[in-house]
Amino acid sequence: MFKLDLYKLITTSVALVLSSTLLYGGSDTSTLPGKYVSKMGAVDGGVTYPRKDGTYTAYRYNDQSTKGVNFGRTPTANELKAWDVDIMPDGTGLPDGEGLVSDGDELYEKQCATCHGEFGAGGKGYPTLTGGNQEKLPNGVIKTLTNQRVEPGMEAPKRTIGTYWPKASTLIWYIRDAMPYAHPKSLSNNDIYAITAYLLKQDNILIDGQELDDDSVLNREKLMKIKMPNENGFYPDIDGPNGVENVRKFFSDRAKNIGSGTRCMKDCKDPSTKGNVPTVMKIDNEITDVVPPYTTVRDLPPEIESKLETKAEKMYNDACKLCHGSDKMGAPVVGDVEAWNKVTQKGFEKVVHNAIDGMGGMPPKGGFENFTNSEVQMIVEFMIDSSKKKQ
């Protein structure tokens, strides 16, 4: 069995480069296409390439001084205050305010449950926020996170806030900036504390060793006390003065830490080869839910009726389609004749009224409170029209 050694290969290629320098009349080794001078030891485990004398690998660059190139201006204090609002694990950026678990419960039902399910339990196709078993192994690792579905029917590791997220700061930061999904940044500071408190309660997170109840209040001081169950579930350790060096060390041993191949060329014995025969796993249940469908045909496209989007349709697409476009959210699906027959039995006035005031899992005006009542009426008309039986 002949196994090519990578070091030998590299040595060979260096030798090739050296000999070719003669052919190329003493030009720099970096002029051979695809062979560049490099240095090992980058933080990601790879190489870096020098920028020297106007050359960077295959590229030339302008190596005139850029000293004094200086555009833009200093941000004002208010501009910094408006944008420098990220929330860090040490509490930097946590806003003033506080929220009750019970208020969070109410807000969650109105603003979050349509996507994340009742009590954060998922099931609507959007991320599951709560649940999962937080029980730990003697080494401190959450037991269910060691689940590996190597056989059919095995249980998946469940990555929820309670079992997976390392920091509580991440949760409140994301809720404030990115939630609710369809109209982010619309919640007050008290609201974000309340919703965070509710989710932490659902995930059985302790503060001062105490479980949260409906009357528990969350604020800056309390949030900073939280230790998440899976706080130590991540590596390499990125915190502290050695954080970056820990990452570098980790990726410098890729064979051990993330896996690596070997450059065998002949009669290679992989565990997946039984004797001389490779074991082949074929597609079992092919996923064919693909849009648009697969084809490589070169033909003329089907004629598309020219159609102008009405104002109502545009508002529907921007605001309502998220829930009314598919049956995943439990809302009547636009185009479903039967579902909308049921809706319109209540009478048009009542349907418009419900859309304005909110109903079931839908907040008032679907959460888009800047819509006027007459705009909501236009949208409802459009949705009903689009759900009539085609003649």
Partner: protein, 434 residues
Amino acid sequence: MDKTFITEELNSLSRRDFFKKTASVSAVAAAAILSPSSLLADDENIVHHTQWGTTLGNELNEHPYGLPSKYEHNVVRRTSSLMSSAGDMHAAVSMTPLHELEGIITPNGLHFTRTHNGIAQIDPNKYRLMIHGLVEKPIVLTLEQLKRYPSESRIHFLECPSNGAGEWKGPQFNSLQFLKGMMSASEWTGVRLKTILDELGLKPTAKWMLAEGSDGSEMGRSVPVEKVLDDAMVVWAQNGEALRPEQGYPVRLLLPGWEANLCVKWLKRLEFSDKPWYAKEETSKYTALMPSGKAIQHFYALEVNSVITSPCPEKPWSDLVGGELVEIEGLAWSGHGTITNVDISLDGGKNWVEAKLKGLVLPKAWTRFSYMHKYVKEPLLLQSRAVDDSKNVQPTVNQEKAIMGVEGVYHRNSICTWEVTLKGEVNNVQVRSI
């Protein structure tokens, strides 16, 4: 997913037998090409005038911004409701049709797209970039001011670290587009971040940078300053024109070779600190859960990787009769450096031969490889294996699985296998022991 393990008897020909056999078949093929012309039917596309040769073509100003031929309408990004939240196309991913691409550049309209809160539509006149934190001189820039900085253009791939994430437990999609299409490559133009920072004066305590987007999800990630000062860029153009909205118009971060998720789109703010941030996309997502139950948190570079693009399930060899000399072609890439070698196996990884690299061979860029194959009508298990200048060798499925397990979601770079059937059809399979 149920797993059935099918063991395939492959022709275990030695390479010498193999070439002896192909030589005799190719002699037959050559005879067909040289058969007397009197036996062949005329092609009416040649012997008659064409429609387009006998009429006036379209006016040149019909499309001030040009469009592909109408006949290319099936060359598009594709998606699947399984790659979204509840079929919602605001938080989803669309795949580049790799089987239709040539060379090492992706046309802008075909660049794969991942969004967490829809495609932000930014008014460039209202766009601002803020750089602050541990710098001597914090700044805000308008788009015009940013573009005043001296520019560089570089060709790099961008790959979502969940490219192929559905395949950890076995093959799922019979398609190159869905197996590896969460990546694209472009010539990006912008300014090196170091050029800006040299003027702003980075404080020695700055170890990390937060990059934050201005879309509804305010996507943020922590980046070590070392990368920022090496080859990071703030880019405003792709393939010679403004970034597409799907790619972060008007400005995105580019960290060559690193997770595309780190290359924050619709870039709004860069802040420097002595600590990392623990943003949502570097804790709850984009972390790789290992069999130990612990997860790799900061996972930056996309590892050495390759895939054969011709043949592939979408572009099979079913039109070949046997005896043809045909090119096996593919793409290799590494976020750790530059591709140095690509090997090809026809027998599922038992024996390998070295392919040729062709075209531009650039760091952290797609690299084309080529191998001329004498096609014989018989089953094959085609594989490619890439090597880079950081001493990385692409692992087999088993080698990768032994360390990573099957629940990590991200950073899957093991060797791909195309099963070529007797009829020349091509299927996505995996050579693996379990």
